[in-house]
Structures are given as structure tokens and as C-alpha cells.
Symmetry: C2
Subunit: 455 residues, 2 copies
């Protein structure tokens, strides 16, 4: 027979079993946190009519879309989870209860040039809160609380959620009274981290911004300190732009409640240089930076928008949402050795090794274990003991349970603690008790364990 060389497409993540367990542990943690805040799960199709997915147009993304026809139908694979959400909410408007909170963890597709750490098929993990006509600004304060809880549950400690407010920013630009487009100014400001304040000032000058304007911008974007300090120093711009004042009020409310939600000050900051998606966001915007790895960029971003589904409905549907690029995040964490093997549960708790021809006793014992919630696998293959116990080792089972002729005759089982290397032969019921108690007593580990922080 002709053999086709097996391969997986470049840019498509496919994990070995132990890595898959770790990936799933992260996805499960996200799911649990999102659920604890009342978000509904959502699952939309990966394929949609192209007219739907491309209703908005999507700039550069459009070039990278997997688009094709089948029969008469022009189809596209989704490139994010926001457009399908907009379609879903517009389509099911009458059947949904607003504010509608949904999370979705799903694959999206972008046929970009594959490079290390960049994927063509990747998971996004999104949450959004959609209002009908209006949506309280307090929702914008809950988002950092959820981001904080998410990364804390994963075990990450050194990260900062940075927020800004688009109204504040736009209001400030209005104050400058120059006719340079806000988007052009923002493009320059966005480079602050990379090129420094001096170069930013030069570039603003070359855009035609006068001395006074540059002085104002320089002062504005150089503000640092705690959220309270920044809020304090922002007061000097008050009373000059209605939009700015509205943004200031929102920012104040958001900061107040973010702390009420218990987000530590070390994990939260106002950053007046953040804009994110100038056309789309209209209130609070979010970025999340790993303190020790700012070069990676934001690992969780989003913001407040006024109109989720304007391409599909005349209803005004304001919302706020964030997105985590899960596949890329996993790749990065794994690459930095941040993923703890102990943070993902063992795939099998007990491997039962029957050493007799008739394995009925092993089957019975395995059923007793499963009834106690213990993940149990029986090794059925006819191999030598060494191969059997080697399998228990390879699948990282914390316990092996051996039932040979002697055990069978006495109604007992030999329980081997694979890590300690110790073993004891006890009646089956006692063995179930010993194993389930030991499993319950294990110290829980977070999936992310950053050893470098201890240095």
C-alpha cells in the first residue's frame, strides 16, 4: 500500500497527550471563572456565510480569511468570536435576556504567514456583556476583576491590568484644538514604550503639532503613579471638554469598583497611552501585560463599545468584552517553562495490573474505585510485570494496584505508591479508602508556576 507521510499543517497546534492535559486545565480554569460570574456558554458555527462574516469588512484580516464556495454558497471560516456574537445577538434578539453575558472558547482561523508562536488555527477565549440600548459603566469595572481572577486562578501573579478611557482620550485630543486626526496622534503615542518620549515629541512635531499641543500631550502621557495619583493629576484638565469630563467620571467609577472587587493595586494601573481599536471602543479599554515579559504584548485585551451589531440590526447594543488568545498564551507560557506539570491533574489515578488469567477481580476493584470518583484504568495486555509497571510510570499514574494469585486468594490488592516507591497489601475495600483519601489530600497546584519569581 502507498503510504502518505503523516503531517499536521504548519501553524496548527496539535499537542502530545501530557501537553493537551495542561492546555485543557487552562481552558477549564477560564471556563470555571467565567461561569462563576454568570456568563452563559455559547458555541457558534465555525463556518458562516461570507456576507455575514464580512459585513463589516475587516481590513487586513480579510486577506487572511479562509473563504471558499461549496455549491452556490460563499463560505468563510470565522476569524474571531466577536462577529459571530454580533450576528447571534441580532438574530436572537427577541429570545435573549439583556444584559446578555456570554463566554465562548473556540477556534478561529487566520491564514497568515506561519511563524514561531503565530498560529493559523487558534483558540480565543472571549467574554462579553451586551446591553439592550444601555449598559451601566459598572460592568466596565467588573471586567478587570474577572481578568484578575482568571490569571490568579491560573497561578500567574506578576501581571498588570492596564486601563484607559476612550472618552477621556478623545476629549483630551479635542482640547488640543489642532486638526490632526486623533488616529494619527494615537499611532505615534502608541510607540511611547518602544521609542521613548523624545522621539514621540519629534514625530508629533512632524505631524504639524505645535509647541503648546506637544507640551500638553507630553504632560498627559507622562503621567504615572497609582490610579489615585493619576486621577488626581488629571483634574487639571477638567472643565474644558464635556467628553473628557464624562470619561473622567467613568474612569473614577471604574477605579473605585475595581478595588471594591478586591483587585490588588500591584495588578492594576491606569495607562493613558492605551487606545486599542480607535473605531470600535468608546469607553474603558483594557490591556494585560506580564510584568516580567512586556515584550510579549497584551495577553488579555478589550474594551467598551457602543454598538455591537450595527451591521445586522438597527437595535443599539452596547457592550464590554475582553479576549484571550489562548493558543498563543499557552505556547508562550510553555516556551517560558511557566507550565507546571503538577498543575494539570493526572490522566489516570490508579492503574490496575491483573497478574492472573481471569481478571474479574481486577474489574470489580476498578469499579469500586470509579464509584469513589477515582480515574482508573486496567492494563489488559499480556506482558511481563516490568512492562506493566513501566506503563503505570509512563502514564504518570500516582498509584498502581497489583492483583496476583496471592492477592486473589486472600481478597486483597497490593497498592503501590509510584512516587514514594512504597507498597502495601490490603483488603480491596481498605485499598479504595487509602487511595481515595490520599488523592483527596493532595496539595492542589496551579497550572502556572513561575519558578523564576522565587529568585
Amino acid at each position: 500500500m502507498d503510504i502518505v507521510k503523516p503531517r499536521t499543517l504548519s501553524g496548527f497546534m496539535e499537542l502530545l497527550p501530557e501537553k493537551q492535559l495542561q492546555f485543557d486545565a487552562i481552558a477549564d480554569t477560564l471556563r470555571e471563572v467565567y461561569k462563576s460570574y454568570g456568563f452563559y456558554p455559547l458555541d457558534t458555527p465555525i463556518l458562516e456565510a461570507s456576507e455575514i462574516l464580512l459585513a463589516k469588512g475587516c481590513g487586513d484580516t480579510e486577506l487572511h480569511i479562509y473563504r471558499f464556495t461549496k455549491g452556490d454558497t460563499d463560505l468563510s471560516m470565522r476569524f474571531d468570536l466577536t462577529v459571530p456574537l454580533a450576528k447571534y445577538v441580532a438574530l436572537n434578539y427577541g429570545a435573549l435576556t439583556f444584559p446578555f453575558r456570554r463566554f465562548q472558547i473556540g477556534k478561529v482561523y487566520r491564514g497568515e504567514r506561519a511563524q514561531r508562536g503565530r498560529f493559523r488555527e487558534f483558540y480565543q477565549a472571549d467574554i462579553d456583556i451586551i446591553g439592550d440600548g444601555e449598559l451601566s459603566v459598572i460592568n466596565e469595572a467588573e471586567i478587570p476583576a474577572i481578568i484578575y481572577r482568571t490569571f490568579a486562578e491560573l497561578g500567574l501573579t506578576r501581571f498588570v491590568i492596564r486601563i484607559n478611557n476612550r472618552k477621556l482620550l478623545s476629549g483630551f485630543f479635542d482640547m488640543l484644538g489642532c486638526d490632526i486626526a486623533a488616529s494619527d496622534i494615537m499611532r505615534v503615542i502608541d510607540k511611547l514604550d518602544k521609542i521613548g518620549l523624545e522621539k514621540v515629541m519629534e514625530e508629533l512635531a512632524s505631524l504639524g503639532m505645535g509647541d503648546e499641543g506637544r507640551r500638553l500631550v507630553g504632560g498627559f502621557i507622562s503621567q504615572t503613579g497609582s490610579p489615585a495619583q493619576i486621577l488626581e493629576s488629571l483634574k487639571e484638565y477638567a472643565g474644558r471638554s464635556e467628553l473628557f469630563d464624562k470619561g473622567y467620571e467613568e474612569l473614577q467609577t471604574v477605579v473605585k469598583y475595581v478595588f471594591a472587587f478586591g483587585v490588588p493595586e500591584t495588578n492594576f494601573a491606569i495607562d493613558l497611552t492605551i487606545a486599542r481599536g480607535l473605531d470600535y471602543y468608546t469607553g474603558t479599554v483594557y490591556e494585560t501585560i506580564m510584568t516580567d515579559h512586556p515584550e510579549i504584548g497584551s495577553i488579555c485585551s478589550g474594551g467598551r463599545y457602543d454598538n455591537l451589531a450595527e451591521y445586522y440590526t438597527s437595535k443599539k447594543l452596547p457592550g464590554v468584552g475582553i479576549s484571550i488568545g489562548l493558543t498563543r498564551l499557552f505556547f508562550i507560557l510553555d516556551d517560558m517553562n511557566y507550565i507546571s506539570g503538577e498543575g494539570s491533574p493526572a490522566n489516570v489515578d490508579v492503574l490496575v495490573l491483573p497478574m492472573t488469567d481471569d481478571i474479574s477481580a481486577s474489574i470489580e476493584f476498578s469499579q469500586m474505585l470509579r464509584e469513589q470518583g477515582v480515574k482508573t484504568q486496567i492494563y489488559y495486555e499480556n506482558k511481563k510485570f516490568k512492562a506493566k509497571i513501566g506503563y503505570a510510570d509512563k502514564v504518570s499514574a500516582p498509584y498502581a494496584a497489583i492483583i496476583g494469585e496471592d492477592e486473589l486468594a486472600e481478597g486483597k490488592v497490593t497498592v503501590k505508591d509510584m512516587k514514594a516507591g512504597t507498597q502495601q497489601t490490603v483488603p480491596c475495600e481498605e485499598a479504595v479508602g487509602i487511595i481515595s483519601q490520599a488523592l483527596a489530600a493532595r496539595t492542589p497546584h496551579k497550572i502556572i508556576e513561575v519558578k523564576r519569581e522565587e529568585v
Copy 2:
């Protein structure tokens, strides 16, 4: 702005929030059962190189594949989870531990004509056990145990797992000594349920089968009764075909251990008319029929095969596996009103309703609840009480927690049991205790509740 009418492609399931919760509850149950037997999770790409997916060719399926080119690459969307598994095992052979047990619950694509209850994008839930060179027949006995556990955990009681053995069947056809292809005979036998024994005999005659052959076939396929009875009456065919005798021995072993696994006799049967995939399966084959709805066909099928990945490797990789067409199963169960609303957990346990301007106390209370694992949402919108409590009702929260001026002043909260309609005002900590105890004391419901069975 031009509005594009929102729509979802026909043949693509997209559920409303409450239905999605139910779907997820089913998928979660499958996942938990599979994990309890030591299956590793696997997630392979939805897109693969066409040469990989179509290495085997796949008959009619090929016409329905979503296949397209992007740049120079000929791509296809997967149409099942078996071909990607074969590729994965061949590709990662050296890194896997055999027997390799994996489950995968993922979307597959078939662009068939859309009809009611037939989907173009649908979930399959597969488990497979792959051996390296060899695989004990006892694995084939464990599969019905897992099928039984799966449906029992979902709450389905009236179903029968039917098994047969392909060696037994092929050995029997050898005995007939006629030169009619086994596949032709099987195609006729397969109609037994629909057309009855007499018509089957007629069709066999028109294939050219003589009186003696038809007498043998008629006797063989008419055997009914308990597995023990069928095994007993099959003895009369022993000693005439090596293949038959081998199949008989396997069937005997499988039946013995299926009962050792605790599968009740009411949920298990030998059915000598089952063949399933004549080219592929080589040992035990499985079907699962809903007792009250045989017209639906098998809801979980599979079997033992000798060579999983022959198109990708010269390694011999025997295995056994089953598949559930999850999207179709959900559609059918829902259509028959078999899905219990109480079987999927509430999306929100407590809706906190702040009735004051400052909502800090509500935030604090919600954090206390979440720390106890209680899914909690705060209603932030500035609405009248009636609208707020109406929201709690619409999202089916079992409890509402109201914090108004009076409660705030006393450090209390009013807890309303939404179902009973009762309420009590108690200190916050007490409220957390009341709610978490009440939630823990709830009677667990299965996701499938067949009310008709009670009649």
C-alpha cells in the same frame, strides 16, 4: 448603514443559552465518564492537508467534503475524528505510550443535503484504544461497559447495546461454501428488521443462494435470547471454520467480562445480524439502540479494527473504538422532550440586586459567595425593582439577594428563594451559609429524564 440580514447557515446547529447549557451538560458527562476510564483528551486541527484526510478515500463522503485551496495548499475540513487520529498516532508513534487511550469531542463537517435532524457541522464524541502490534480482546469487553456508564450517567435507561463478532460472521459465511460475496449477503441480512425474515430469504435466493445455505442463514440470524442462550446455540456451528471458532471464543470472553463490568442484562444483547463497516472492523462490533425508538438507529457504534493507520505507517496498530454523533443525539433527545431542564445546572446561582447608589456592599457580598463556589452575578443596571427581580426569573437564578438601604444600614441581605417565593433578611455571612448549604443539598438530576417511561 446597510444592514445585512443576520442568519446562520442551514445544517449548522446554534443553540439558545438554556439549550446550550443542556448540550454542554451532556458533553461534560461524556468527558467525565471517558476520563474515569483513563482516556486522554485529544484535540486535532479541523483543517488538514487534503492528501492526508483523503489518503484512504472515503467513498460517498468524499463528495461532501469541504475542500478548497488557500495559496498553494489543498485543504479539507475533517469529516470524522478517526482519520485525524490515525494521522496523529502515526505521526507521534514514538512519543506515545501504547495502548494509547484517547477521547475526542469535536466538530466534523459533511456538506450533505440539509434536512431536519441532519447536520453539516456536528460534534462527534469518540473513544479509541490503540495497541502497538497487538491489543487484548478484553478491551473489546470494556467498551460496552463504557457505553453503558455513559448513557446511565446521562439518565437514559431504556437502551440496548448490541454486539456481534466479525470473525464469527465471516467464519459463518465461509461455512456456506457459496461464492456470493459476504458484503452482498450482509446487505440483505441488514434489512431483516425492516423487511422480515421471509423477504430476506427471497432476496438471498435471488442472489443465487441455495436451499441449504438459506436454511443455515435463516437459522443463524433468527437466534434470539440472552447472550448465554445465543452462545449455547452457536455451539452447533463449532469445529467447521477456524475463523468462526476464533470469533466464538472472543465473543465468549467479551460477554463474560461485560457482565463482570456490571452491565445489566437488560442493556446488553448479542445480535448476529450486525456487521457495520465490512472492510474495516475485524472483531467485536457495537450498536446502541434506544428501546422505545429503534427507528432512530444506532446512537453509539463502533468496533474492533486491525489496522488504524495503514495509510500513514507500516506499523500495525490494532484498536477498538466507538463514536457518538452528539449533535444529532442532542437534537433527537430534545425533539422527543427527553431533556430535563433540571438536569443542567443553573447558569447563575444567585443574582445580587443592589438597590442603592453605591454598590460596594453588593460587590463584597458577591465575592463572599464566589469564594464558596457559588455562581454569582450582580445586576448593575439602573432599573426598577420589578425589572431587576424579573431578570433573576428570566435567567432562572434559584436565589436573588437584595441589598437596599435598610439592609445596607444593618449589614444584612434579603435572600429570596425564587422558586418558593419566600424571603428572609439575615446578616451577609449567614446568607452565604444558607445559600451554599441549600445549593449543596439540591437533588441532582440527570440531563435525560424520560417521563414516558413512568407510564
